[in-house]
């Protein structure tokens, strides 16, 4: 088994009085093809953990290895490059550009990571077809439903063919029916071999994952499956 993510005694402390230790000495290994749900109440530090996993934030202590590479040793510019090629993000708030079509939104995920210009449109269309939106290429987010918007965001995340897909409360803004269809999509992506990490506080979401990690007050506890 080869690990995509290896956390060794990772901590993240925010300065202040008193300092807030959002993540405390976390150990976590995520293998290729894993589907991991990180569950916890709000304020438990799971968003901070996701930011560290996504190279958006750096741990204050411990070691984080992504694909065998120690992220702590990388410069800001290289961590940025790593995000662009190896990590896909799906956010609760979608973060779509409201004035661009679905296709253009997916293509923004390919602008910065050296995907050749001529390949971007094709790759973006394939990603949109993968999430079942092949018929909505020229729709702007305003014209799409909530579930469709989240599918566009997922397409944007998977278009660069990342090694790791990080989802931060991906169904937080969706009703239960739409949530179910998004979770079905995650299952399909999982079957395709994508490594998935989903942060959630909904048991309906975490129940679909094969591994569940509980997070309470910054402490990680993996539940026996």
């Amino acid at each position: 088994m080869s690990a995509v993510v290896e956390l060794e005694a990772v901590s993240r402390t925010f300065p202040g009085s008193p300092p807030v230790e959002a993540v405390k000495e976390a150990y976590l290994t995520i293998d290729d093809g894993d589907y991991v749900a990180i569950v916890g109440p709000s304020g438990s530090g799971k968003s901070t953990l996701l930011h560290i996993l996504g190279c958006l934030d750096a741990p204050t202590a411990g070691r984080y290895r992504l694909l065998g590479r120690d992220v702590g040793e990388l410069s800001d510019g290289l961590r940025t490059a790593l995000r662009g090629t190896e990590i896909g993000f799906v956010f609760q708030a979608f973060h779509l550009l409201s004035y661009r079509t679905a296709l253009e939104n997916v293509m923004t995920g390919l602008v910065y990571n050296r995907t050749p210009r001529r390949d971007r449109r094709r790759q973006a269309r394939e990603a949109l077809e993968r999430v079942g939106l092949g018929h909505r290429l020229d729709f702007t987010p305003r014209q799409l439903s909530g579930g469709e918007r989240q599918r566009v965001a997922i397409a944007r995340a998977i278009a660069p063919k990342p090694s790791l897909l990080l989802c931060d409360e991906p169904t937080g803004n969706l009703d239960s029916k739409t949530t179910a269809s998004i979770l079905d999509l995650f299952d399909e992506l999982r079957t395709d071999g994508l490594t998935l990490v989903v942060i959630t506080h909904e048991s309906a979401v975490s129940g679909r994952a094969e591994r569940q990690v509980d997070m309470t007050d910054g402490i990680l506890i993996e539940e026996a499956s």
């Binding site: 293998d31 940025t80 090629t85 973060h95 004035y99 602008v111």
Partner: protein, 419 residues
Amino acid sequence: MSEQVKPITHRIVRSRLLIRDLIAEAVAGMLARPGRTVLTILGTVLGVAALVATLGLAKTAGNQIVTRFDALAATSVSVSNRTEGFFFSPSREDVSVIPWDAEDRITRLNGVVAAGTMTLVDTEGELMSSVPINDPLGQTRYAVDVIAASPGLFDAVIADLGTGRFFDSGHDLRREPVAILGPAAAARLNINRVDQQPAIFIGDNTLAVMGILDDVARETSLLQSIIIPNGTARELFGTGAPAEVHIRTEVGAAYLIGEQAPIALSPNEPEKLRVRVPPEPRAVRSGVESDVNTLFLVLGGVALLVGAIGIANVTLVSVLERVGEIGLRRAVGAARRHIASQFLVESAAMGFVGGVIGASAGVLVVVAVSANRQWTPVLDVQVPLLAPFAGAIVGLVAGLYPSWRASRLEPVDALRGGT
């Protein structure tokens, strides 16, 4: 499953943003909120339009003033002896290099409308009167300048006759004792009509008054003088040589005549003559321009500054509004410099578009004002061509701070914001 893993053993390749992509992103950002973009651009439009219109109107007005000025002053040329003070009568023949036939020599030149010599006559202190008696009770004798003139002088200085007639070349050749009075001289000598052939007395000489001037456009010293023919002056007072030549040219010929006249008058020693030509029109024009320019360029600059502040303001607001977009771009691999350059190009592009619209508006203003005043619109070609780039620079400078702010945002903080 393990064979699918691709550990990063190779070098991580840095993020990149192609120029084409940068421009596409910036243009899309501009078009995302067209209404706001138009309002943002408005300040630059006004500033650039003010600058272009100012430069154009100054040049147009300057050109117009010179054209009017030409009509009277730019056709006047005078030649005098360099060695002597201006308007000085040489008593010896060899001092002046201006010959007595100067009028003939000059009128032969192409472009000359009229020419005549003018010389202050040395009357050796004789006083003038219109009555041949000494009245012990009242003053009847006055000191009045006597000027010897060739017949063409009256036309050359644009003299209007009040009554009587001018003397002609016949009077000159026959050295007849005749005189024309300037209106001021006539009043002093108590002569106001010539139909009874009044006489004036200069010492022992008697001169018949032929006419009285009404006005003179140039050389107003003639207004208070007694004017006699050259021949008469030589006969009665032994005047040696003409002191100066006045020339009226056709419009535009003044500079050419100014060069030719000394050679025509004194082929051997043209350098001994001093020529007065009207001021260079270009000098007058630039003088007018600089007057108008300094005032309005300051106004245009202020307008442009206001435009720049407008762009800076809106770009800053836009950065704060688009925090989510910035966070997302950082998440998908945009480096800080990519974020900064996107906002910089956006503000520079807004400045450029503002410059294009402003330059067009400025040119329209120049044309409209010119049409209204029936002027000829004049504008340097470079001005409207360079204006858009001035606008782009304004936008670029205005975008510096907002772009820097945008690039400093931490992605984690940026993503926490909405949209």
